[in-house]
């Protein structure tokens, strides 16, 4: 009897276990993701003695299965019997930490880091540390790279003898034969330094940092830059100059552009780590050099940091430094030969106006904005336009409007539809800042022209843009300026334009409200139900469905119902389909009041 009952509850688990070896990867993956269910059914002892040994050897599987397994094992402690038995999880994670696939190894290391916290100090030394040592001295570089990420989690919790061993192992890996391991050590150096006693940071970490930062492989050197930033945050100010700065200065002038790029990319973090004095004396000239670097990639990375760097300069000398040191470089970048440099600069340059204030902005920055607004690359112009809000607060956008307009018009008519799409998306923002008058005068015609663009994505974005404009300027403005034009297109000879009218109505009915919709839009929609093109007719049905909630029930009953009923008998099956769909939806929202006769 118990057996029969047992069968029922066993069955789903039995399926899960069998599917661990199914030929279909997806089924194996599903099973692995429910590993906790299997373990729960097996109980802690069988999980330890049978399931884990099996999993330890399943490293032949596909990456995605191994990845899921590595993740599961990180939260398996309870299922093997709690912290007392957590070390049982080490063998499968150890084998996962040696596979060739980086994502799997990283996940295994992450899970190992997690369960290391669940080890008692004794277990840590008896089980976990030996595993780290085994990985650190493994034959394959994969295991040694994994070891690099594990030192920092066990170091704080072991005896001083073991600590010395761990430091020794880390040192060894920093001078490993393979660049892969040196890269891993270099990228974990900062993390490891954080858990070391300050004396050891100075005596152990600094020499390692110096060595890695002058490694023969630039892929190793560039990772040392980030470590340098972390180390700098750990050291007292008076030691920075002697211990870290020589190496960082060397990195900023490295022969390899990739290393200099890394310095530029980490510049804000570096600035924060070394403090105001070193920033003034060292980083400002270094930053100038990066902005003038011979490699465009480096200039791009540095240009991206212009605003953040300036913002974080010490307040007492901020303006002087910017005006005398940074701004001259920025001026040169505005006419850089490389479009990515200019575009990076354009995305941050407007931010300088809040730092420099009104007068400086008008005198020094405004000319630069104007040059960039006329740049030959659309991306540069777009980046300026998308950040207009920063200047608006300082000097008001009117200062720019003379130059802004030609730039916008040109972008609006760009041959690349993606550029046109990008500028449409900034229209509501521009409209808000330029005001309704300026908009009506200069930009309204552009917005209407996009409605008949030959690319659908543009027409679609244009309808959405109209909705946002109405949200900004209100229904009355809509009724006077755009609704007549939109409705006029209903008589266009091109059916695509007639459909655009319907799409616009879809987008506008709600923001325009019941009155305009019923009075002005509905008659046009209804009239279009007799269009000779079926695509227009079924879009009428969809449109009616969409605007139904805005209309009152008498309009629905008197006007919409007969039209939809007629469309429901259309010869075209798509028209029929959408008409019937509209009928059922409108019936639902109206609580069966309208169509209860049908």
């Amino acid at each position: 009897m118990a057996g029969a009952e047992g069968d029922d509850s066993l069955y789903p688990i039995a399926v899960l276990i069998d599917e661990l070896r199914n030929e279909d990867v997806q089924l194996r993956l599903n099973s692995i993701k429910k590993l906790s269910t299997i373990a729960l059914a097996l109980g802690v002892e069988r999980t330890r003695t049978e399931l884990l040994p099996f999993l330890t050897d399943t490293i032949y599987d596909e990456d995605e299965v191994l990845l899921a397994l590595a993740e599961q094992l990180g939260s398996f402690t309870v299922l093997v019997g709690g912290p007392e038995f957590v070390h049982c999880l080490l063998p499968p994670l150890e084998s996962l930490a040696t596979v060739e696939e980086t994502v799997v190894r990283d996940k295994a290391v992450e899970s190992l880091q997690k369960i290391s916290q669940e080890h008692s100090p004794v277990d840590l030394e008896v089980h976990f540390v030996p595993l780290v040592k085994r990985l650190a001295s493994g034959d394959w570089f994969t295991s040694r790279t994994s070891a690099c990420g594990l030192f920092s989690v066990c170091y704080p919790r072991v005896s001083s003898t073991v600590k010395a061993e761990i430091r020794q192992h880390f040192r060894t890996l920093c001078s490993d034969d393979t660049p892969m391991v040196r890269r891993a050590a270099s990228s974990k150096l900062g993390e490891f330094a954080k858990v070391l006693e300050l004396d050891y940071v100075k005596s152990d970490i600094i020499p390692l940092f110096t060595a890695l930062a002058s490694d023969e492989q630039d892929s190793v050197r560039l990772l040392a830059v980030e470590a340098g930033v972390s180390i700098a945050t750990l050291l007292p100010q008076e030691d920075l100059e002697d211990l870290v700065m020589p190496t960082l200065r060397q990195a900023a002038e490295d022969k390899s552009w990739r290393v200099r790029y890394m310095v530029a990319d980490k510049f804000s973090e570096l600035q924060k780590a070394v403090g105001p004095e070193i920033t003034k004396n060292d980083l400002v000239p270094a930053f100038q050099n990066l902005l003038k670097d011979c490699e465009a990639e480096v200039r791009t990375a540095a240009a991206n940091k212009v605003k953040v760097f300036c913002e974080s300069l010490p307040e007492d000398s901020r303006e002087t430094i910017i005006m005398t040191h940074i701004l001259p470089c920025v001026k040169e970048l505005v006419s850089d030969t490389n479009q990515h440099v200019k575009s990076a600069l354009a995305s941050v340059i407007m931010g300088l106006s809040t730092i420099l204030g009104k007068d400086n902005t008008v005198e020094h920055l405004l000319p630069l904005f104007l040059v960039q607004l006329k740049d030959e690359y659309p991306e540069v112009r777009l980046n300026i336009i998308s950040n207009l809000d920063c200047v608006n607060e300082v000097i008001g956008i009117r200062q720019l409007s003379q130059s802004l307009l030609p730039a916008i018009v040109e972008l609006a008519e760009d041959a690349k539809w993606r550029v046109r799409l990008a500028i449409i998306e900034y229209m509501p923002l521009l409209a808000g800042q330029l005001g309704v008058e300026f908009f009506d005068e200069k930009l309204n015609s552009l917005c209407m022209a996009w409605l008949i663009d030959h690319v659908y994505a543009i027409r679609e974005a244009a309808t959405c843009n109209l909705m946002k404009l109405v949200e900004k300027f209100g229904a009355e403005w809509a009724q006077n300026t755009i609704v007549p034009k939109v409705l006029g297109m209903a008589n266009d000879s091109n059916y695509l334009h007639r459909m655009t009218t319907l799409f616009c109505i879809n987008a506008l009915s709600e923001v325009c409200g019941q009155e305009i919709t019923t009075k002005h839009m509905l008659p046009v929609v209804l009239k279009m139900s007799t269009d000779q093109v079926a695509n227009v007719r079924f879009n009428v049905a969809r449109c009616l469905q969409k605007i139904g909630p805005v209309l009152d029930s008498s309009a629905l009953q008197a006007d919409v119902k007969p039209v939809l009923e007629k469309l429901a008998t259309d010869q075209d099956m798509d028209v029929k389909y959408f008409a019937l769909e509209a009928i059922s939806v409108i019936t639902l929202i109206n609580g069966h009041t309208v169509y209860d006769s049908m």
Binding site: Y11, D18, L20, R21, F54
Partner: protein, 463 residues
Amino acid sequence: EAGVGGFYQNKKTFFSFFFILVCDPADVISTVEFNQTGEFLATGDKGGRVVIFQREPQGEYNVYSTFQSHEPEFDYLKSLEIEERINKIRWLPLHNPAHFLLATNDKTIKLWKVSERDKRAEGYNLRDEEGRLKDLSTVTTLQVPVLRPMDLLVEASPRRVFANAHAYHINSISVNSDCETYLSADDLRINLWNLNITDRSFNIVDLKPENMEDLSEVITVAEFHPHHCHLLAFSSSTGTTRLCDMRASALCDQHAKLFEEAADPSHRSFFSEIVSSVSDVKFSHSGRYLLTRDYLTVKVWDLNMENKPVETYQVHDYLRTKLCSLYESDCIFDKFECAWNGTDSVIMTGAYNNYFRMFDRASLRDVTLEASREVCKRRAVLQPRRVCVGKKQKETDVSVDSLDFRKKILHTAWHPKENIIAIAASNNLYIFQDRLTPNGHHNTPEIQSAPPKWQTQPNPPTY
């Protein structure tokens, strides 16, 4: 007699290679490559297959794994067939017990993992080992599968596919010494990939002119320096080889060095540029030298001297008078590869008539050997061949006019440490081993000092 013969051979040649294997893949071999330890040898063929040989403890190479790497495809946008032919194979440095290699056809590069499995899981809950469903009433406890030993199974699985980055045909791939990146080169561009990222690559060299009518040269080969991760060399159809430093800038259009020998104006002819096109470039293991192969010569360049090679070896100078007919038969466009031995002291390259050539750099002696079914009897020592212009001096001499130009040895490889060579001749793969190193322990073959008679160069042909 045989012992004496062996000794005699040994005195005559600087290597006395004997034949250890001939393998006959289904299709014409298109590339041959040893891995870093020399324990494995991979070949790719015209049919898109990769065959991997493993060296047995006795020194023989046996087939380890065979798999279909590429399939024929069709580019519907350009209405072009994409052949499955494997253009190049490159092994990755060892990661773990599995082996990894990159194989490419004209358009797509694939990363393959070749691994061994010797265990399999046994024990299902709901079915027996034959896969039949069990009677559910007999299932009263849960069973966890157990792993049992089984016969060794070698599996090849595609790990990454690097596609859609080349508009022209890929001619080279090369793994960087940083073990993180590799390059792929086609006729006009060189791209840099990260081995872990398949959806983007960086274009580092672009020779494509604005107007294709201005096209003056194409890239023929590209290779990374063996130790310096920032250096790469690429050669062109105009006979130049450029060295680029990737530290200097992200785009390597500006070369750091240009290796080119000034052409002798008295020898200029219609064929000058065609025969100077570089068909292969190999860095020496030391990283100090570059070996380049053009149609008639192999040249050794010192990286520190750009204006002329430090050594030039004639591969088949007797063809200089035959360029016209070689042009008509398209043979003049054959792309011969070249190889260094493990200590950079000897150079090997292929020729016609199933001949291949070796040049000893120290003694300046050279030898012509033949790889063909007829001469390759098991463990037989290869006899040197001699091509003569004009009258035969010896019975065994071969006249230039009787050379078979359809039998060509384009692809050769030298074991990274020992004197074992692999020669691809049409659809045969020959592996030869120096008899001085039968067990693979003797690395530096003795080089005899007295030049033997057969090695004297034929009199320079008159033009």
